[in-house]
């Protein structure tokens, strides 16, 4: 008996020893997966799934892996610097009379990664391919384009409308150029995964497995001396925790992650670890304007005043997403467009007393359970749909719920799956919803147009494209359409001021916090990162083609 226990102890000790030695030897480094050699950059961007090793720049699932690394656009437009432009595959461009045509001069001397020269014909081919296969038209450019033709080294685009000016962003910045000599032989470009991408960009895709993609520098890249970072590793993270861990132990240097308690988890570990979250669009409480109680502007105003946006930002979003304003202008990104007159007339954004006064003047008084009721017996009690997967939105909604309760408005959160939420939202089957626009552009116009333009809405029961709250006002439409026809910045600003007046007087929706780009960076091995003082591009690894600009600025120390 004793002998047996002795054996048992020895075996157990042996197992422990093996385990510990295996553990110790691998972690004797620095506890990190790999100490990055100076010229290998590892990206930490959790995608939730393994890679399928498809690299088509015109397929939404694969764009973030191909555009910016392998493929490039005509012009880089920086949304963080009010649309400042950097010529890429196009060297210059001019608008024709009435802004009904646009001509690009294409850069000479650029080669595809297989050695073939890139010409204006490739550009025209790309746009016409998108026309031929509408599934590839990810930004809807052909809703305004009439024709695209190449002549010599220029490409001329004509438009079917005068209101195509904002589409410059989608045409020049958001359309990657593909090689005609390869894509014309592909068969169906919509379903072809493009396993071996050929582009003009700074990197080649050299190795792909479901767990990791390796990019190596393109030796024939048209910018001399670029790129300076020789190799990029892009692992497929299926969970936030692992992705965050790799950033925290230094094995990944460029993060695009949501990290809870980022100071303790990340920045405290190493003085070289930094983060910056530039705001992009508003996360808003959307009233369904067809709802009789919510169609009363005073009710909406009261809701806006009742919400303590600072608290939502601090508690629900851990302080990462700044509070938004009722004018709908995301600050500091688009602060230059902010109309102070509109904000002053609105007053303090958190004013529960004013909220209660507004409700009283609308004929509501506290009823059973403290819920505001009007003379007809209708209660201010609503359900709000939310995406259950976004735990920070769920947490924010809890704060909003408590804030509204304090002024007598009762809301009940209904946390749905992504698909259910989309369905309810698009068809207008909700009372209140919590959401943000999915697209972003180089000025506040893009987001506000999506919210307010009646061309983007639809009656309840049909799908609304982006105007989910069913807002429709011909005067506002006129303003928005006018904006689209002009390239004059002063005209644009004057229109934006009027739009902000619409926001504070009509309260079509209620911005609460500002969604941000997630971005962490390690200044130990690399310099050249975008920072608040030098916002030369959107800094997230998933933002394209901004990611290319970051890669071109980075250099090993």
């Amino acid at each position: 008996m004793r002998r047996l226990t002795r054996y048992g102890v020895i075996i157990a000790a042996g197992l422990l020893a093996v385990g510990c030695s295996a553990g110790a030897s691998s972690s004797s480094g620095s506890g990190s997966a790999q100490t990055s050699t100076n010229s290998t950059l590892t990206i930490s961007n959790e995608n939730g799934a393994l890679w399928t090793c498809g690299f088509s720049p015109l397929n939404t699932s694969d764009t973030l892996l191909s555009v910016g690394f392998v493929y490039e656009p005509l012009v880089f437009v920086n949304p963080l610097q009010n649309g400042k432009t950097t010529p890429m595959l196009a060297t210059s461009w001019t608008w024709g009379p009435g802004n009904k045509s646009l001509t690009f001069t294409i850069r000479q001397g650029v080669k595809w990664s297989d050695g073939t020269p890139m010409t204006a014909a490739d550009v025209a081919f790309t746009f016409n391919l998108i026309k031929k296969y509408p599934a590839l038209d990810l930004t809807g450019v052909w809703s305004v384009l009439a024709s695209v033709t190449a002549t010599g080294n220029t490409v001329t685009m004509t438009f079917s409308t005068a209101g195509a000016v904002p589409y410059f962003y989608y045409i020049a910045d958001q359309t990657p150029i593909v090689p005609q000599h390869i894509w014309s032989t592909l068969g169906n470009p919509v379903t072809n995964p493009i396993a071996k991408p050929v582009g003009t960009g700074p990197y080649l895709m050299s190795k792909c497995s479901p767990q990791n993609i390796t990019y190596t520098a393109n030796p024939h890249y048209w910018q001399p001396g670029e790129p300076k970072v020789a190799k990029i590793q892009y692992p497929a993270y299926t969970s936030n925790n692992t992705a965050n861990d790799d950033l925290a132990n230094g094995s990944a240097q460029w993060g695009a992650q949501y990290i809870p308690s980022i100071q303790t988890f990340y920045t405290a570990r190493n003085p070289n670890f930094h983060y910056w979250f530039p705001p992009t669009v508003n996360v808003s409480l959307l009233p369904n304007l067809t709802n009789p109680l919510l169609s009363n502007v005073k009710v909406r105003e009261a809701m806006s005043y009742a919400i303590d946006r600072n608290q939502v930002s601090t508690i629900g979003e851990s302080g990462y997403e700044p509070p938004a304003n009722q004018a709908g202008i995301v600050t500091p990104t688009f602060s230059s467009s902010l109309d102070n007159a509109a904000l002053t007339s609105w007053g303090n954004s958190y004013d529960p007393a004013k909220a209660k006064a507004l409700l009283a003047s609308a004929g509501f008084h506290p009823g059973a359970g403290g819920i505001m009721t009007n003379a007809a017996g209708q209660k201010l009690s609503f359900t709000v749909i939310n995406i259950g997967d976004y735990s920070d939105w769920v947490a924010s909604m809890q704060v909003i719920q408590q804030d509204l309760k304090a002024v007598g408005i009762q809301i009940t959160p209904d946390d749905l799956s992504n698909t259910d939420f989309d369905a309810d939202l698009f068809f207008g089957k909700y009372q209140l919803a919590y959401y943000d626009q999915q697209t972003f552009g180089p000025s506040a116009y893009y987001e506000l147009n999506n919210w307010l333009n009646s061309a983007d809405t639809a009656p309840v029961g049909k799908t609304a494209a982006s105007n989910y709250e069913r807002y429709s006002n011909p005067a506002t439409d006129k303003l928005l359409n006018e904006y689209a026809t002009t390239t004059s910045t002063s005209m644009q600003q004057s229109i934006m001021n009027q739009i902000q007046q619409v926001m504070v007087t009509q309260v079509p929706f209620i911005p609460v916090t500002e969604a941000v780009d997630w971005y962490q960076y390690d200044t130990g091995p690399f310099t050249g990162w975008p920072t608040p003082g030098d916002p030369y591009a959107q800094p997230s690894a998933y933002a394209f083609p901004d990611n290319e600009q970051v890669l071109l600025h980075l250099a090993p120390k």
């Binding site: 008996m1 972690s27 790999q34 939730g48 799934a49 393994l50 969970s239 692992t242």
Partner: protein, 329 residues
Amino acid sequence: MRYALRRLGFFVVTLWVALTLNFLLPRLMPGNPALAMLTKFRDLSATPQTLHALEILFGVNSQQSLLSQYGSYLGHILTGNLGISLSEYPTPVTTVIGSAIWWTLGLVGVATILAFILGTGLGIVSAWRRGSKLDSIVPPTFVITSAIPYFWVAMVLVLIFGLTLHWFPSQGGYYVTTDTPGLNFTFFQDVINHAFLPAVSLLITTIGTWILTMRNTMITTLAEDYVRMARAKGLPGRRIMFDYAARNAILPNLTGFAMSLGFVVSGAILIEYVFNYPGVGYMLLQAVSGEDYPLMQGLFLLITVAVLFAILVADLLTALLDPRTRTAR
């Protein structure tokens, strides 16, 4: 032989029930959940074959009657056509599962075998030494450990050994950027390194049942007449313990092993979740959060078939080793 056929029959029946459950569940839920998934596939420009497969698997948008859907469904499944994964579009479900299955087999296989050996051993010893100090500690301790949620043990181990002491990595199966899977030593070492904490979690939580079941059956076996006879004959204690008692007591344990496999699987899923270990359990939870129903279904079927198969093998093994079961009932 008859016994084997009976067990095989049971295997087939259970498999059929599982397949039918799999078929009926999405159709029974209010507002067929797969309907929304169909739009997602359409957005990905899915081929007509893919869409047709979706019809068969989930009954969305189908013109066929329920019965003919069922027939096509069985046909598809039995020929190994489990559909296309949504989150890994356009990879087929079978390929996606294939990448994860070895991780789980390795982790669960090794941990279960270890737990079985150690647990059975401790159970035997504990039963033999009834009334001793060992026996007074063992049952209560392991009764308690068998009630501890799997994920809690995993979390405690992560906290202590992964995050505080940094002895082992607390995430993943291997370091994806440095190691390539292959028959090289660094890869193996990396794998063992990453598998250590998950395996220990699984070991700690499952060993309790082995110990207790073995102890209980040993105790009842030790009360049998032939053990008393052996003792009367003056055979040495160890010989009685192993050759007479344990050998017979272990058989119900084998059956218990089969039955508890379901729980081992549950534990594996939760432990893989806490450690982000790239096995089928983790993949199932990813599929759930990504609403990738084809992958989810495929994984459920795989897990069920694997468990059923293991039980069948255990049953047949029991029949081989214990003549009593062949004639029992």
